[in-house]
Subunit: 348 residues, 2 copies
DNA sequence: CTTGACAATGCTACCGGTGGCATTTAGTAT
DNA sequence: ATACTAAATGCCACCGGTAGCATTGTCAAG
């Protein structure tokens, strides 16, 4: 069996290519870097030789000379492995197309030394840029530090911002609004929401999108039907239990994410409340669990992979500096309602 | 606000350290690489300066000169994001301690060009070594190719092998055997198993461990109570449905993994079969879902993080070449039974 | 026919380390 | 004291690229 590449045979370098093409290495370098000041003819000649010998410039040498690494970093904290996995695959897709590699870096976003930690990470491997996932992406101090140190980055966030060069956005507000409309269409009137931590932008977006739409449709949420959770499963259980054991029970609970929605489901089960018969439950994210849980959750699906690709492309555009267009392109993504089995018409 | 590191201020290099310590850069290099041929006194002096100036050698320069990259690659395919996330965190833990970075590389393990793909990956970034996750870790052709190309690697697998220098192992057989004993202790007699694809080593280990122990305890499984699944959720639903609609129903189903066990649970729900009342269900892996599903699954927990650390340490040992001890150390991990709500005594 | 301007290409000094070999220093046997 | 050897350290070429500047070539304007 043969492979295209044989690491045993001495690696060909830019010098070899230069010699074979009968030009100087400087010219080969120009071709590699798509410099405009190369004769069309020479360019073709060199490119042909490069292709013929399957030459790939050495990233380390390139990096050493140009202080670049062709390495992108992914900063995340989130315990939601499914989300991260999806992101990674999306980023890697476009990374490998464009000659970059992805280095992953989990961290605790609310630790005091987040900044130092991340900066060290960048510095250790001379990373060319960073993609930052929520909730770390919401830490402005981090972004500011990166700005100060001239480290290119792209943040994935919920909500809208004008700084399109630094964000890939998800219109969670609109999606939450859709959820509100859907719930109203089911004739429910006693509606509760378990929000995420309201210091998170994503939580606020969803919360506001939902409650505002609800109000505008004539069903403003009662104060005691709005509770703030932690986005954790356990929090869903606890708050679900609380909502479902009060005298005045809601007939539908919208949770800020699927984790908590699953928790609510668990609480309902414990309390012997039928879903969706006596209670409808909705989540947000459409993570894997959402469809595995019984009954499967009605939720909102974000095009996570797409966001990842947007982010990678934008970041690479920033790193490479050409194509200013791509840098400022508005990358906003629109999550969609997914109706499954955890919701139903109001029963009396 | 100040950070330890300021990327704006010119980076200090080995030359600076050499000058400050009053020695040649070669000596500093020796200190960095822990060469034994440095005087104790000079060594301390240099180390002190290094610490004082927070000097970190440039990976690219180092790599260029020594043809190393301080980058480790993680090869995986598996759709189980939770598993991958856990592995990543484990690997990264030890990586960062030892000065390495992790580059991730998802791929389709049964594609024809797996070998070329992986080799390209290694070559592109001059990776120092590879950690290979199942099922890609079971592809011998891949390992062989890596051997031929002198790429260090460690494979994570289920089962045992003597080549302790190339594997981190999980004793799934023993764990499956424990599961068998547990089930027998619950007085069940009609026992079914949904295996994984039997061309996977892990599936065979679990299958054999379970059925052999069952037989030795006097409850050999009937042929029609052994069915082969794909490890996917859907497969669990389908096979669960099949087993539970036959005339002769099992009172317990052991699935090769939690994904399929969840599928079985779903099937039971559809068929209005109570779990664990009428049917007990067990899984394997203890992935996140196992505890979220209702009822929570009795399953087997692998110390995944630990395996990841073992793998990273072994790989680094191979890469660095010193410490032959660590290279051949037997890294076998023992998964444990986790009893939750999906199993119960046989009812009549 | 010169000269200038611009395009195309080459020369070469780095980038920040490593490693082979030379050199210096110190310790030991004779 | 002298020669010899091992330990400690320095010198310098090199890893494979990039980039500033020099050089060569071409064509049009003067």
């Amino acid at each position: 069996m043969r492979y295209n590449i044989d690491m045993n045979q001495p690696k060909i370098t830019i010098n070899d290519i230069a010699r074979l093409a009968g030009v100087s290495k400087r010219t080969v370098s120009r071709v590699i870097n798509q410099s405009p000041k190369v004769g069309e003819l020479t360019k073709q000649k060199v490119e042909q030789i490069i292709a013929e010998y399957n030459y790939v410039p050495d990233k380390q040498a390139r990096g050493l000379a140009s202080s670049r690494s062709y390495l992108l970093g992914l900063i995340y904290d989130q315990p939601d492995a499914l989300y991260i996995d999806e992101i990674q695959r999306g980023v890697i897709d476009t990374c490998s197309q464009r000659g970059y590699e992805l280095v992953v870096h989990p961290c605790k976003y609310k630790s005091d030394d987040l900044n130092t930690n991340v900066l060290n990470f960048v510095r250790r491997s001379k990373l060319d840029g960073l993609i930052i996932l929520p909730p770390a992406s919401e830490v402005d101090a981090l972004a500011q530090m990166l700005d100060e140190n001239i480290v290119p980055y792209v943040r994935l966030v919920s909500g809208h911002t004008e700084a399109t060069d630094k964000f890939v956005m998800s219109n969670d507000r609109h999606a939450a609004s859709d959820m509100a409309k859907f719930i109203v269409s089911l004739k429910h009137e006693k509606i509760a929401m378990i929000t995420g931590p309201l210091n998170y932008r994503s939580s606020r977006e969803r919360y506001e999108g939902f409650t505002e739409t609800m109000a505008s449709l004539g069903y403003p949420l009662e104060a005691n039907f709005i509770v703030e959770g932690s986005n954790q499963y356990e929090s869903g259980i606890e708050l679900g239990r609380k909502l479902l054991t009060s005298d005045d029970k809601p007939s539908v609970i919208f949770a800020n994410n699927d984790e908590m929605a699953s928790g609510v489901l668990k609480a309902a089960f414990e309390l012997d409340i039928k879903v969706p018969g006596q209670l409808s439950i909705c989540g947000f994210d459409d993570n894997l669990m959402a469809s595995r849980v019984i009954p499967a959750l009605t939720t909102i699906k974000r095009p996570v992979r797409q966001m990842a690709k947007y982010a990678a492309n934008k970041l690479i555009a920033k790193v490479e500096g050409n194509n200013p267009q791509a840098i400022i392109q508005n990358c906003t993504v629109h999550p969609e309602l997914v109706i499954r089995d955890s919701t139903g018409f109001k029963q009396d």
